[in-house]
Amino acid sequence: MASLTAKKQKAFRLPGFKLSFGFTIFYVSLLILLPLSMILLHSLQLTWGEFWTIISDPRAVASYKLTIGASLVAALINVVFGTIIAWVLVRYTFPLKSLMDGLVDLPFALPTAVAGIALTALYAPNGWIGQFFDFKIAFTPLGIMIALTFIGLPFVVRTVQPVLESFRIEEEEASASLGANRMQTIRHVIFPTLIPAILTGFTLAFARALGEYGSVVFIAGNMPMKTEITPLFIMTKLEQYDYVGATAIASVMLIGSFFFLLTMNIIQWLIQRKYTKRVGA
């Protein structure tokens, strides 16, 4: 069957290949490849020593630590609450459920700057929420984590939700009828199938948080060494017309997120392999 369709495709091809191939390659080259290659081109103009001095500057290193740390905490909060929310939205009924479901998309639809000023006003020391705490939330790393949690929530919910929806109730019934209690069923039957989706959600939320700028810049306070995230550090360098420095830091960010995505893909692949092996045996 497979070879048949392959043969058919060779003999018969829908029109439009030249047009769609030409346009797609042209568009991708001009809009994505050429601009992104500028980072490489401009970074290569530096010697290794100059490059290292820029990227290992204590202020830069502090910004990496803050960006990675805050993104990690936010992504982990989203993994926990996002999975619970996805579960509740798929499995239970409660009043205003469809409103809550629709609300999950808000961070995707709301401009980041709008989210930024709203969260800052809420968590500022005299804000609706900030006033109840005797420590500062906005303008500290805590505020950054809140903004990144806001931005990343839909990634986890919207990747876990469809997997739960397609989960067959028969498997849970089988597990229960074989004597497993509910906790055992959740741990050994439901949870393993959710892991790839949860990991994907974590990856997307974390990757988005690493580069996030609009929602963080207002709430962060932007104090060098303390509350300055890497995208903001790049922005500061740009405002000082330090294009070389901005490009060097940008290349660190790009390489960092590339290796993160690569690692997560390998982990996904290992999990999948382990899973199929177990089913095979």
Binding site: L14, P15, F94, D105, A109, L110, A113, I117, G214
Partner: protein, 290 residues
């Protein structure tokens, strides 16, 4: 033995037993409470706060904040960018999805990765790369300067940076959809004498219209709201290169909170419209598949 089994239905309802495929009531209740509290605190409260702050000094101040000349020029600029960027990326989305779903060729996976790339790049870097290309010190900087062409700190830069950031939206929506739908109907249409354009308009488009609309709506929302990339390339020239999000930033930094939240409330309305449209489309596609 058989008698016992038959009797069971009569005795069962007296003792309340939790369903084996659901959780005890107290767990269900607490999970629902946690979810509703989390969503209300993190998502609903900011939304409520935007509208309350926007209107806290009355309707007159609200209307003045969104109808002054700077606000209006920001709104105009934002919609101009939408009118250019959304159709271009829609065209790209349709053509690239057609290419990837209908043909076999080498390097398809690399192409897919490239299309996805803007999702993984920080908006600030998305702006930076166009400064490196067209800015005064950029690759084409001198060439452009000699000819008095302005791209950075002008409209073309805003459009390019926004195009980059929103490239994947329509394509990402259509590629899996068109791959799943296969191409036998298109082949039948073509073999019956329809040309490529007729085949696309009459066969493919009706099958993908909801997915296409969904991608366009998501792309549109991001174009309107893009902040980081536009912030780098715009130069913040008031009344000239400030889009709506940049205008909000300017107002906020000048402590004009009511005005900032008034413009923010307009953008929140657009966001709510986006969410409603998305839900209608999802509901329609579910109805169709039933």
């Amino acid at each position: 033995m058989t008698e016992n089994v038959l009797e069971q239905p009569h005795t069962l309802p007296k003792v309340k037993i939790d369903s084996p495929t659901s959780e005890p009531k107290w767990i269900r209740r607490s999970l629902i409470t946690i979810s509703v509290l989390f969503l209300s605190l993190f998502l609903l409260l900011p939304l409520v706060m935007i509208f309350m702050t926007a209107f806290q000094k009355g309707v007159d101040v609200y209307l003045a904040s969104i109808t002054n000349s700077e606000a209006l020029s920001a709104i105009r600029l934002t919609f101009l960018v939408v009118l250019i960027v959304v159709p271009l990326n829609t065209l790209f989305g349709v053509l690239s999805a057609w290419l990837i779903s209908k043909y076999h060729f080498k390097g398809k996976n690399i192409l897919l990765t490239l299309i996805d790339l803007p999702f993984a790049v920080s908006p600030v870097i998305a702006g930076l790369i166009f400064v490196l290309l067209f800015g005064a010190q950029g690759l084409f900087g001198e060439w452009l300067l000699e000819r008095d062409i302005f791209i950075i700190f002008a409209l073309p830069g805003i459009i390019l940076a926004t195009l980059f950031v929103t490239v994947p939206f329509v394509a990402r929506e259509l590629i899996p959809l068109m791959q799943a739908q296969g191409q036998s109907e298109e082949e039948a249409s073509h073999s019956l004498g329809a040309n490529g354009f007729q085949t696309f308009m009459r066969i493919t488009l009706p099958k993908i219209k909801w997915g296409l609309l969904y991608g366009v709506i998501l792309c549109n929302a991001r174009v309107i709201g893009e902040f980081g990339a536009v912030s780098v390339v715009s130069g913040h020239i008031r009344g000239l290169t400030n889009t709506m999000p940049l205008h909000i930033e300017v107002l906020y930094n000048e402590y004009q909170f009511t005005a900032a939240f008034a413009v923010a409330s307009l953008m929140s309305l657009l966001a709510l419209a986006t969410i409603i449209a998305k839900n209608i489309i999802e509901w329609r596609t579910k109805e169709v598949s039933k």
